[in-house]
Point group: C2
Chain length 289, copies 2
C-alpha cells in the first residue's frame, strides 16, 4: 500500500489530530504555507508557529522524521507533487499560464497518488489471469472507452486477440459469446455504470474471468469481478477539472501489457521488435491514399 516516498504532507494531515497541542500549531503553519515553510530555518519556523525550537524538533520526530534537516528534505520532496493539491480548482479568472500549471500539477499529483495506493498483489493476480487468457475483451464507456481502445491497441503485447466494443449492444453481445479461458477487463471509474455491470456479469456467468478497474473499493463493479484493481484518484468536485482518472488507468494498462509481454518472453519479443520496425516504415511510406 505504501510506497517508499510516502507523502509527508499527507502524513501530517493524518496525524495532526493526535499530536500535542503545540505540535499542532506547528502543523498548521506547515500545512498553511508549505512553500514558505520549506525555506524556513528551525528558529524561524518556531517563532512563526509561536512555539519554542525543541517543540518543532519534537514535532518533526512525531511525524516520522529524523530531525529537522530530514523534515525539510522530506517536505521539499512531497511539495514537488502536492504543491497545488490544496487549491487546484480552476477558476474563471485564471490566465492561461495558471491553467497549464494547474492541470499539469493536478494530473501529476493524481498519478503519484494512484501509484502509492495501487495494490501490487491485485496487479500480480491480474497479470496471471491475462497471461493465461485465450482472448481479452475490454469494456468501457466515455473516457473509460478511450482506455479500453488503448488497451485493445496493445494486443500485440498481450499476445492474444483483444477487443473493445464501444457500443452497449455490441458489448452485450460480445459478453454473451465469451467462455472459459476468456478474460474481461471492465473499466469504470465510478464503478456504477449499469451497462458495464450487466455485460461483466453476463461474461462471468458464461465462464470468463473478470478483472475490474475502478476508482474505489467496494463499488458495484468489484462485486462482479474476480480481481479488482483499485486506482484511487483525488477528489474532483470542480466542473472545469478534467477527468484525471483516465491517465492513471492508461498507465495501469501499460503496466499490465508490459508485464504480460515480459511473461511470454523469448520469441514473442523478436516479433515485437519486427513489428515496431515495420510500423516505422509504414508511417513514412509515401503510398498515396
Amino acid at each position: 500500500m505504501n510506497a517508499p516516498g510516502d507523502n509527508l504532507l499527507e502524513q501530517i494531515v493524518r496525524l495532526k489530530s493526535e499530536l500535542r497541542k503545540s505540535d499542532q500549531r506547528v502543523a498548521e503553519v506547515v500545512l498553511a504555507r508549505p512553500q514558505e515553510a520549506v525555506d524556513m530555518t528551525l528558529a524561524t519556523l518556531a517563532t512563526a508557529a509561536g512555539v519554542s525550537e525543541p517543540t518543532v524538533i519534537r514535532f518533526c520526530t512525531a511525524v516520522g522524521c529524523d530531525g529537522y534537516r530530514d523534515f525539510r528534505t522530506k517536505l521539499a520532496r512531497s511539495l514537488a507533487f502536492a504543491r497545488s493539491t490544496s487549491h487546484t480548482a480552476i477558476s474563471a479568472g485564471d490566465d492561461l499560464g495558471k491553467i497549464v500549471t494547474k492541470i499539469f500539477d493536478y494530473n501529476l499529483s493524481n498519478l503519484h497518488w494512484a501509484q502509492t495506493h495501487l495494490d501490487s498483489r491485485q496487479v500480480a493476480a491480474a497479470v496471471d489471469v491475462l497471461a493465461g487468457a485465450r482472448r481479452i475483451e475490454f469494456f468501457g464507456f466515455g473516457a473509460s472507452g478511450i482506455v479500453a481502445l488503448d488497451a485493445q491497441q496493445k494486443f500485440p503485447l498481450f499476445g492474444v486477440p483483444c477487443g473493445a466494443p464501444l457500443d452497449p449492444h455490441q458489448m452485450f453481445m460480445t459478453a454473451e459469446m465469451l467462455g472459459t479461458g476468456d478474460v474481461v477487463v471492465a473499466i469504470s471509474n465510478t464503478g456504477h455504470t449499469v451497462q458495464i455491470l450487466q455485460a461483466t456479469e453476463v461474461a462471468r456467468n458464461r465462464g470468463a474471468r473478470t478483472i475490474g478497474i475502478t476508482g474505489a473499493a467496494g463499488t458495484e463493479l468489484t462485486k462482479h469481478c474476480d480481481i479488482a484493481l483499485i486506482v484511487e484518484t483525488l477528489e474532483n468536485t470542480d466542473i472545469y477539472t478534467p477527468t484525471v482518472s483516465r491517465l492513471s488507468h492508461l498507465v495501469l494498462i501499460d503496466i499490465l501489457s508490459t508485464a504480460v509481454s515480459l511473461r511470454r518472453g523469448g520469441p514473442h519479443h523478436d516479433r515485437l521488435a519486427e513489428m515496431k520496425q515495420g510500423l516505422a516504415r509504414l508511417r513514412t511510406s509515401d503510398t498515396q491514399i
Copy 2:
C-alpha cells in the same frame, strides 16, 4: 520555456561541462547517487567527491543555488520526479513491483518534462484559434488516434462540433470538406506520419487553420501547421517501454479544452453542469439494453 520549479538535476547535467574541474567531481557524485547525496551533509559530500567544503559551496552557487541548504532542498524536490530517469529501461528480469515503479516513474518524469518544456505562447495562440472555430477535426493514428478520440469526446467543452476520423480515407475526405472557419488539430508524435501530413495539407489548402501536436520542433508536420505545439518527451529506445507521449498529449488536450471552455464563459458553463448531472443519471439508470 522554463517553469518555476525547474529541475535541478537537469540543470546540473546542462552546466556540467562548463564547471570548474573540482566542481565537476561534485557534480558526478551528485548525479551518480542523487538519492544518497540529498541526505549527505556538506562535509560528507565534500569527502565523497574528494574536494574541500568551500568547493562544494562554490558548486552550489555555480548551479544556481543559494548555498548548500538551498541546494539540498532543490535537489530533494527534483528527485521526487527524476528518481529513476537514469535507469528506467525495463529488463526481462524485473519483478512486477519494479515494473510498476518504473512505468509510473517514467510517465511521471515524462509528464513533468513536457510541462517544463511547453511553450505557453503557442498554447495561447492555439486557444485563440480554437475558441473562434466553427468546427474542429482531430487527426491521429494509433496512440495518437486515441488522443484524437479523447479530444473529440470533449466537444461539449469546445462548444462546437468535433470530429476524429480514424480511418485514413475518412480523414482525407473530411479534410477535403473543410473550409474557412474550421480548424484541424493534427496529432503525431513523430511528426512524419504521411497520411496525417497529407490530410493536414489538404485541409489547409481548403482554408482551414491547422494546429499540430508533435514531439519535436522542425518535423515535417510543423511545416503544414499554422501553430505547432511541441510536446517534448524523454527518449525511448527501449522495446518494452510503452508510449509515454500520449499521456502528455492528453493533458495538453485537457488544457486546450478547459481554456477554450473558460473563454466561452457564462451560460456555456451552466449547460456543462447540467450535462454532467445528466450523465450521472444515465450511468446509474437501470434501463435494460
